[in-house]
Symmetry: C2
Subunit: 210 residues, 2 copies
Amino acid sequence: MKVTSDDIKNLDDRYRANLVNSLSGFKSANLVGTVDANGRTNLAIVSSVFHLGANPPLLGMISRPHTVTRDTLENILTTGEYTINHVNSAIWKQAHQTSARYPSDVSEFEEVGLTPEWQEGVLAPFVAESRLKYSLKLVSSQTIELNGVMLLIGEITQLYLEREAVSEGGYIDIESLDTVAVSGLDSYHVINGIGRLTYAKPNTKPEIFG
Amino acid sequence: MKVTSDDIKNLDDRYRANLVNSLSGFKSANLVGTVDANGRTNLAIVSSVFHLGANPPLLGMISRPHTVTRDTLENILTTGEYTINHVNSAIWKQAHQTSARYPSDVSEFEEVGLTPEWQEGVLAPFVAESRLKYSLKLVSSQTIELNGVMLLIGEITQLYLEREAVSEGGYIDIESLDTVAVSGLDSYHVINGIGRLTYAKPNTKPEIFG
């Protein structure tokens, strides 16, 4: 089936959102923890966190200014801090529920039944139930002029995870942590590995290892 | 286990790359098809494609200037066009093999055994074996000053997929297309859905549907 750019332009808004959100492939599922200027906690699920670089350790995140993550965005810009917490298969429903439009003065932690966890030196709350989580300081924010979304870039300050999940070479087996993936706007997926492949060279075939 | 920013800084480069690349969660697996100024085809696997907006339909992609995707980056900047093709479980090994450092004058299509597919009005090759693919025109490119990587933004021009995979509301069941996910630098994952959840509202609990 061929779909042209004009076809996409003429779609109903909700249909278009569902369709185009499916096109990048599987997305990460993370909960972003923040506090506002008064210390009130906020928690929002996002599927837009992406790797930006290992040295320094930078993560990017896209935020739409007019959606439910607005509180999160404002808190990050105000405090300069946030946490990113992997969503796992034990908390995926609570995680999704954070996307409801709660009033600014209620905490999604309480509303959905997740537990804030505090670490020395970090203003923002972690999610106790998450098995891989890290705090970031905001190092860059910019508006993408093409459509008005914001690109936030953060550098990792503290990282918490289960030691058993880290392999000898540094790879983290996020499958063993039951991390889930997202597709589209609302589909959650558990993962079954195929395998890891050896470093690709022109004259060899990739082999499964690990 | 707690890991500080100083710990991360002091890691061996390869270990740090493995570790930090695992932190965003599951990533999309896509093959990027391009041609150079002489029409020679190039194909590279990337795990950095992300959703940026539905209207207009925009996808972001991160490219490191000094890696194997350099040819891809140069081709995109030269021609202003590229294709993004979902990697599925029938071609994941060939897809990974495109990350080998082949000379610029050989085509990864031939080397790894994938088939270029041409569509009228698009300069760049699609991957015939991919079951969801689209072409883009480059609408923005910028260097992220923090670490020198490039952010490329493209707008969809043509989209090809199997009609059966599109649900009534526009959601594409990319699981039914056998699309795989990536974690870290080299781990590939097949997917088993948990379910789709209803639109979240403050006073309801999310329900599984679809």
